[in-house]
Symmetry: C2
Subunit: 294 residues, 2 copies
């Protein structure tokens, strides 16, 4: 646990399913880390901004753990584009731990495993834990939203403010980052975003700021960190942090319980019930009843 | 059931949860409709292509039911852009029934309700049932994938082939449509797509075709329908149709059973367990065990 290898082994156990995870996370001392979610459509520059954020936090002397749940992340499927390289500068930094959780299994499983992975990184002494997910699907957004602070990332053209609103991710944001601010139309994105945020209802006391960045040059990244720090202070002073962590614990317990029930059901004879339903000989509700009776 | 109002009432019962849905779908005679999924990133023109497809099927004398599960659909959240108007031409056509299922509840619930809504439209005599979902999240893609044929929609710029590959939707496609073919770079999208499809592994006997369209003018839409008809013939002759419908029944039963279990768990005292987990007094696995014991 005191070495990156020990952390990696615990994370593998967490990903290995509930039986192993149960022992891995037992007695871990947690609660010190700040958990930050980062979400946005494919193409807005999540990996570049994540890299730039790591740099900022490292410069402030903080240890950073990254959980990439995003199939478009350079830590996983992003090898498609070869931009995995961009992150290699952090590969030799002992204050940075990066783990891809994208390749394994379905999102339901990842939704259950991610909170445990956060526990492991927290207990290992990482001060900041970044959870990166692709920000369009409800399940993906929900994983990133189980954070103390959520960054919603936009960019001109691809994944602009209107598309983000349509995809329903705007309401989850605590800090909005408009990346690729050196491209044309960035002011249009900011204006659209401001207009749409004005229509939403927000927690009293926190108005989500909009920060423009160029992830590749680091421009604006200090402002992003300042906005995150202000949000962290607000979370602590308002009592919102406790509320969010309670909600996170609730979701974690429900996900584990439902995962256990799902395995029990899958062990039963779903296939013969499915054959009768597909043939029109049985309605699906009666089939579900029979499945539940075992 | 013989009137649009009767169909709408049954659909409301299906959306109302399992108790009502159970009676709504009991004894429905189904199995005649072709179910077509349509998925793609926000901005590729799903609503326009859906409208153009409706026109094609109507011209062939077929009745069309549409289930829009997509928050970016003009049938629901799309009012944001005012493009709801585009679909109004079908509002007075008795051979077309359009239902938005986007506004209610979370995706887990929609994943469970959609198969029942398909049953209702099937029994009501709609020959073609189109399920439209936003094609980035795994859960959203899975809903559209529970169809006989799946159209994956792309467009130059927004949601191009590389982004679609990163988002993991390419493997679900039976027919690929590159929309907005009057825009620059369309050949680049087709070339990228062809390259990526060449890397994938496909069902023996069906090589997914790529069709270029301009949804707004209807260009290429006849070719899309021809591709869908060819796929339908292949589904029937290869036995793949039975396999897909069996898988769909399996998912439907599992979703209903898990939904029932989720309600039972939510009725128990999750909050006090969550408080103990959030305070570090209890680990989440033990909490899940206690929850399951009730």
């Amino acid at each position: 646990m005191d070495t990156p290898r020990g952390v990696a082994r615990l994370l593998s156990q967490v990903e290995g399913g509930s039986r192993q995870a149960r022992y891995a996370i037992k007695d871990l001392e947690i609660g010190k880390a700040r958990v930050i979610g980062l979400t946005g459509a494919p193409g807005v520059g999540k990996s570049t901004v994540t890299g730039a954020l790591i740099e900022q936090f490292r410069a402030a002397g903080q240890r950073v753990g990254v959980l990439a749940i995003d199939p478009s992340s350079p830590f996983s499927g992003g090898a498609l584009l070869g931009d995995r390289i961009r992150m290699q500068q952090h590969a030799t930094d002992k204050g940075v731990f990066i783990r891809s959780m994208a390749s394994r299994g379905h999102l339901g499983g990842l939704a259950a495993a991610t909170p445990q992975a956060v526990r492991v990184l927290d207990a290992a002494g990482y001060d900041i834990i970044l959870i990166e997910t692709v920000g369009v699907g409800q399940a993906e957004v929900a994983i990133a939203s189980a954070a103390d602070s959520v960054i919603v990332l936009l960019a001109p053209g691809m994944g602009d403010a209107v598309q983000a609103a349509k995809a329903g991710i705007l309401e989850t944001g605590d800090v909005f980052v408009v990346n690729k601010a050196d491209k044309p139309d960035v002011q249009e994105v900011v204006r659209d975003l401001r207009g749409m945020l004005a229509m939403g209802s927000w927690n009293a006391g926190w108005k989500p700021p909009i920060v423009c960045t160029v992830g590749s040059s680091g421009e604006g990244m200090a402002e992003v960190v300042a906005a995150l720090n202000a949000h962290w202070e607000w979370l602590n002073s308002s009592g919102e942090l406790d509320r969010r962590r309670l909600a996170r614990a609730r979701e974690e317990i429900m996900a584990l319980a439902l995962g256990a029930l799902r395995s029990r059901l899958a062990d039963r004879d779903v296939d013969s019930l499915a054959a009768r339903v597909a043939a029109g000989a049985l309605d699906p509700f009666t089939a579900a009843d029979e499945l539940l009776r075992g």
